[in-house]
């Protein structure tokens, strides 16, 4: 394995052996470590002193199921703190097959430039990409595949990344070459844009450089782990059949589906935008209800959503996106929401921060709640790069400032996702305390709060939530480092044989002898590093808080507030 450094000021490329301390790190563990070791926390996120680290997880390219997540780490232009954002798609597996442990992009060109990085078995080259200027991810992918071959993976920026907007994502193509998988959160696309890079093309070639210390043991452990994943009702049946959108009705029933910019916990039109409706619509239009975002995913929660004529409209259409443009904005037309999902994928913006920003613009009186046509027009402005488009493309916090409203659901300037923190309290603890800014995946307490996976913790009460969020945040840091899709947490939480098999996989690949506790301690280390970086960047406990309206306004139907004290929240990651 090797680490590659690309200096965008001199256009020089160098390769280094993996340092001893980095050998056991991958994915988020490695990106956060390198950012923490090499980037001054007070650097401007878009300046030459920030870096962008791309790292496959420790299991990328292996026989482990659903292990192809790609981590991108940087200092976030959105939160001002450390950021790891991960995506599916085929990039992590391609990089691992080529023997890359990480690619570090540093420095920046003097003038504004657009470049293409090409990674192949022959090495890495940097080419001019000015012909892609202000093109969207779909077109960029088509042009690059025509030039570089149908099989390549494309990571790219849409218009938003080029403009360095703080909700800009980095798109990663799925097995069909569609830019539907994104490192969405925290504005990683803006950092790549600041380095003068429009796209990265990866051609893994034929040879697979992934090595195992003991492949037979690894294979046996991977097989057992796959069995656990497939035997669990959520990861084995629920996710493949209905995807994540099935959560619309679950959260609506539970009173945790934020509606009209977090005014209500239920949406009167939930059924129109539900997973069940989506499933029927996809079937009727002959799309795909089940789809893997990368080869080797056995949970296959993704899908292909066609338009009324039966032509491809969008894919990777997730619950959080449906929520952000749906109930959050009081929009009830699933086709309009699908169209906005496609636009976000194409312009390269985070669907959560952008959808929440549209709702905040509604709050500010720019358009009416429920106005789907107006929302679509507003999104078009991002692609055009107009001033209003730039406002929305900078995310919810910026949009709230632009429209002078205080009702802005963000933590550390990152938009809250699709679970009301008052009625799914464990989720609220995670939003407040994760070093990432409001993020549902960082410690997905919906498991025990709503789904009854990994035990039962009452979502409306405070009891047990801090501990739940802490344990989940630690476990997630581990899974993000291995490159596992977070949904393998479902079997891990319920089947006690699953995590030991993860340890077996680590040990048989890397010739180590870790037990479960040592692996979890590694997760804690990641969080400690991230917290320390944030502190150096000036992010203190005062930012580990939800906006005050969550404490003051009770949300229907359960009429609950977010009632944790500051001291209680501060205990979450105290270790």
């Amino acid at each position: 394995m090797k680490i590659c450094r690309i200096d965008m000021s001199t256009k020089s490329i160098s390769f280094e052996e993996v340092k001893e301390e980095y050998v056991g790190l991958g994915g988020r563990g490695l990106t956060s470590r390198i950012i923490s070791d090499e980037v001054d926390a007070t650097s401007h996120p878009l300046g030459k002193n920030n870096k962008l680290v791309i790292a496959p997880g420790l299991f990328a390219g292996t026989l482990a199921p659903s292990s192809g997540r790609l981590s991108v780490g940087t200092k976030s232009p959105l939160t001002g703190g450390i950021k790891e954002s991960n995506a599916g798609g085929t990039a992590a597996q391609s990089l691992a097959k080529l023997g890359y442990k990480a690619v570090i992009i540093e420095n920046k060109p003097k003038n504004q430039e657009l470049n293409l990085i090409k990674i192949t078995p022959e090495g890495i080259t940097i080419e001019d990409a000015s012909y892609l200027k202000m093109k969207g991810n779909y077109e960029v992918g088509n042009i690059l595949r025509e030039k570089h071959g149908e099989k390549v993976t494309v990571m790219s920026l849409g218009q938003a990344g080029e403009m360095r907007l703080t909700a800009a994502s980095i798109a990663v193509t799925d097995p069909e070459g569609r830019p539907t998988r994104h490192c969405g959160r925290g504005g990683t696309g803006a950092v790549l844009g600041s380095k003068g890079i429009k796209a990265i093309v990866i051609d893994p070639g034929k040879e697979n450089k992934v090595e195992y210390h003991n492949i037979d043991n690894f294979r046996a452990a991977a097989r057992n782990f796959s069995k656990s994943v497939l035997a669990h009702p959520v990861s084995g049946q629920g996710l493949p059949a209905y995807g994540t959108a099935v959560l619309v009705n679950i959260l609506n029933e539970a009173g945790g589906l934020p509606t009209d910019n977090f005014r209500e916990g239920r949406f009167e039109f939930a059924e129109n935008i539900s997973g069940e409706t989506m499933f029927e619509t996809i079937e009727k239009r002959k799309g795909q209800t089940t789809h893997a975002c990368h080869p080797g995913c056995i949970m296959r929660c993704s899908q292909v959503y066609n338009d009324k004529k039966g032509d491809y409209l969008t894919g990777g259409f997730e619950y959080e996106t449906i929520w952000a443009f749906g109930s959050h904005c009081h929009i009830k037309d699933l086709d309009s929401i699908a169209k906005m999902d496609k636009m976000c994928d194409d312009f390269g913006v985070d669907t959560i921060d952008t959808g929440v920003a549209v709702g905040v613009a509604m709050e500010g009186g720019y358009l009416e709640f429920g106005d789907d046509k107006g929302a679509i027009k507003l999104l078009e402005e991002i692609g055009k790069g107009s001033p209003i488009g730039r406002i929305i493309g900078n995310g919810a916090a910026f949009t709230g400032q632009a429209f002078g409203t205080e009702r802005v659901p963000v933590v550390k300037r990152q938009a809250l996702p699709a679970y009301d923190p008052r009625s799914v309290k464990g989720q609220g603890v995670t939003y407040a305390t994760t070093p990432m800014g409001a993020d549902h995946t960082a410690g997905y307490a919906v498991t025990s709060n709503i789904l009854g996976v990994g035990g039962v913790v009452d979502p409306l009460k405070k009891d047990g939530q801090v501990e739940l969020s802490r344990n989940l945040q630690i476990a997630t840091a581990v899974l993000d480092s291995l490159g596992f899709c977070i949904f393998v947490a479902f079997p891990i939480l319920d089947d006690e044989t699953a995590f030991p098999e993860v340890a077996n996989m680590i040990n048989s690949k890397y010739n180590t002898n870790f037990d479960i506790n040592e692996i979890l301690a590694g997760g804690q280390e990641v969080l400690k590093l991230e917290k320390a970086f944030n502190q150096r960047a000036g992010i203190t406990k005062a930012q580990d808080r939800l906006p005050e309206f969550f404490k003051e306004e009770a949300v229907a139907p359960h009429n609950v507030t977010f009632d944790f004290t500051d001291e209680e929240l501060d205990k979450t990651l105290e270790f």
């Binding site: 009702p233 629920g238 099935v246």
Partner: protein, 82 residues
Amino acid sequence: MRNIQIEVRLFAYLRELLPSESRGVKKIEIKNCLTIDDLMDEVGILEKEIMIVMINGIRRLDYNESLKDGDRVAIFPPVGGG
């Protein structure tokens, strides 16, 4: 004994138990003091097909609980996401 009215809401593939135009929702009259368990029998759901039962938005773990007039009973098979 007088009857009570409740609203049953079925989700994902459990909806196949009801006509498709009902979108999984049905108001039914049942005898007073019927439990969640009795209701499942009435609708034809096996316990192993169930992952979550919520009454008026609050999850229930004890299916011997009696239902009350006007209850909104949501029943989910094993599904989930993130």
